[in-house]
Amino acid sequence: MTREERFSALAHEHSSSLLRYLRRRHDGTGATSADDVLSDVLLVAWRRFDDIPEGLEAPWLFNVAHRCLANDRRKQGRRKELIVRLRARGDSPSAEEEALAVDAMRSGLAALKTQEREALLLSAWEGLSPQELAIALGISENAAAIRLSKAKTKLQAELDAKKEESFSRPKTSPH
């Protein structure tokens, strides 16, 4: 296979997961779309094709995607942090509980540092292993594990606090 053919195979293998990654994080506004950012990811990947670690292509590409997204946000002049578009899924006992869960998760994720949230979401949504997480975050495996652990601890604390708050809140307003 030529170098171009190998790159094409790599792109086809990972584009769907990259597009999913980007759609999860791209807010869909502005002049660009997740597809545009994917194109930029592939440009960088081609430029650094020889540097992509064998067997760890996916997390390496996620790392590039993360930076391309950051560039995209800067270019668009949108300084807001990642807006996580939460959508409840699965069986929910009630609309109220579902709403509370969404609210708790939204505020819990928002309370995390950007880097912690990225570690958590890469693990939960992209399903990266600790080794892959390290590559995707551009840090050591140990540091990645610590970051993920911190994120989980913080999120759990936030969820617990929300739960406590909802228990202590009156169900109905007095007239």
Binding site: E4, F7, S8, A11, H12, S15, S16, S17, L19, R20, R23, R24, A31, T32, S33, D35, D36, L38, S39, D40, L42, L43, V44, A45, W46, R47, R48, D51, A58, W60, N71, R74, K75, G77, R79, E81, V84, R85, L86, R87, A88, M105, L109, K113, T114, Q115, L120, S123, A124, W125, E126, G127, L128, E132, G138, I139, K152, L155, Q156, L159
Partner: protein, 438 residues
């Protein structure tokens, strides 16, 4: 990788809130096109505003629907002036011309897949205004090696931490999430600095800091690299005035140094607060697409990016006139068989899909061409990376004019067109354009 977390209830909860729970399948054709676009660039660089401008320029010579277009008669080239072999094809993007023509409408297609684009016909307006002309070309070279520049930037921005030079990307990552990175872009270096996240609660970059070391305005602090650095004046959080942002940005960039004549700043105030300050390198009195920027957050922290490029002596490549550049727009259409394309259009009747999405299918009908009357031509300088790895500043014509849509019933202006065309005589330019078909 998605089958996981059955034993981790917390991650399972997070997974349940996945905004894209269903598998996404990228359109194979779309990926093919992206691959062709990427691999047509022997030495592509990371996305920057300058890159957008530069790549958009290439689009004007070889359209997106081109084949490998090798221009040039080698025999006609003067012995003292080698052919400039530009090994790139357009990185077409919706904001391709933004750097040179703020506010102008989109003139080249987005990379969104399977859209139907409007084509153009070009004419020269009798009221054509020509600004500049006859500029020379300059080779650009880095003044230092990546590692040295990285050390310098880490010192300026006070980033200390893990060093990584394994992926062709020279980077120092701070423990607080800040980092500086340097990478080669052809014959020059580019760099980027990011502070700790503005959401961080510990050790963040405070207003007035350079690189997160809190100091009072005017203080002198000793950096880890044992150099002394004067901290620039503190921004006035939460939102800087434009003048203050420019002043602060200049102070930051002065510490980095080595930029040459940066000219006047452009400030973009962001609706979410903060300011984005950009300077363009000035060469021969012309603004170039080599930009450096300081991007202030509402909390006063900032990120920055720039370049290391020394401008070589003037090389007198012959240039084309503005009218020749305009005619080249049309010639390109004829030669390459694919027009410079405009905005994506709405799906036509009977079409399937038609939105900017890799998962949709293209409409089947072609709308009438848009008519452009070029009424302004401005010469500037843009960076190009040659096939041999050299980076050059080449003259370009920025061509602008109103667009008329002949199919519109009200005859209103359909927007403003702007496109750059390489100003060097085509016999000295060789462009490789990949076989991209929209």
């Amino acid at each position: 990788m998605d089958e996981l977390h059955e034993t981790d209830p917390l991650l399972s909860k997070v997974q349940a809130f996945d905004p894209e729970p269903d598998p996404v399948v990228a359109n194979s054709f779309a990926v093919d096109r992206m691959v062709r676009n990427a691999t047509s660039m022997p030495n592509p660089s990371i996305w920057t505003r300058g890159r957008y401008a530069a790549t958009a320029s290439v689009a004007s010579l070889g359209s997106a629907a081109a084949v490998i277009a090798l221009i040039v008669g080698l025999g006609s080239v003067g012995p003292e002036l080698p052919v400039l072999a530009i090994g790139g094809t357009p990185k077409v993007g919706a904001s391709g011309d933004a750097a040179l023509a703020p506010g102008a409408s989109t003139t080249v297609p987005s990379m969104g897949m399977m859209r139907l684009y409007r084509s153009y016909t070009f004419t020269t307006s009798p009221d054509l205004v020509v600004v500049g002309g006859g500029s020379g070309s300059h080779q650009l070279t880095a003044s230092s090696d990546p590692a040295t520049l990285l050390d310098h930037l880490a010192s300026v921005f006070h980033v200390t931490g893990m060093r990584d030079a394994t992926n062709g990307n020279y980077m120092i990552s701070g423990t607080n999430g800040s980092y500086v990175q340097v990478w080669k872009d052809g014959g020059i270096l580019r760099w980027d600095y990011q502070p700790e996240s503005s959401m961080a609660t510990d050790g963040g970059v405070a207003p007035g800091d350079v690189g997160g070391v809190a100091s009072a305005p005017g203080d002198v602090v000793t950096t880890p690299a044992t150099t002394e650095t004067t901290v620039p004046p503190a921004p006035t959080a939460p939102v800087l005035s434009s003048d203050q942002a420019i002043s602060d940005a200049r102070a930051v960039l002065d510490q980095v140094g080595g930029f040459g004549d940066l000219g006047n700043a452009q400030v973009q105030s962001l609706d979410t607060g903060g300011d984005y300050v950009t300077f363009s390198l000035m060469v021969d009195g012309l603004a170039t697409d080599l930009t450096t920027s300081v991007d202030y957050n509402p909390d006063g922290s900032f990120s920055a990016s720039g370049f290391d490029a020394q401008v070589g002596g003037l090389v007198p490549y012959p240039t084309i006139s503005a009218t020749d550049a305009i005619s080249q727009l049309s010639t390109t259409q004829g030669v390459s068989g694919g027009p410079i394309m405009g905005e994506p259009v709405a799906p036509m009747p009977g079409a399937v899909g038609g939105t900017a999405d890799t998962t949709t299918t293209a409409p089947e009908q072609t709308p009438p061409a848009l008519e452009v009357s070029i009424n302004k031509a401005t010469m500037g300088l843009q960076t190009y990376t040659l096939a041999n790895g050299e980076t050059w500043l080449l003259p370009v014509w920025l061509l602008e004019g109103p667009i008329t849509d002949p199919s519109a019933t009200n005859g209103d202006n359909a927007g403003d067109f702007s496109q750059t065309v390489i100003g060097v005589s085509s016999e000295y330019v060789k462009i490789a354009v990949s076989p991209i078909a929209y």
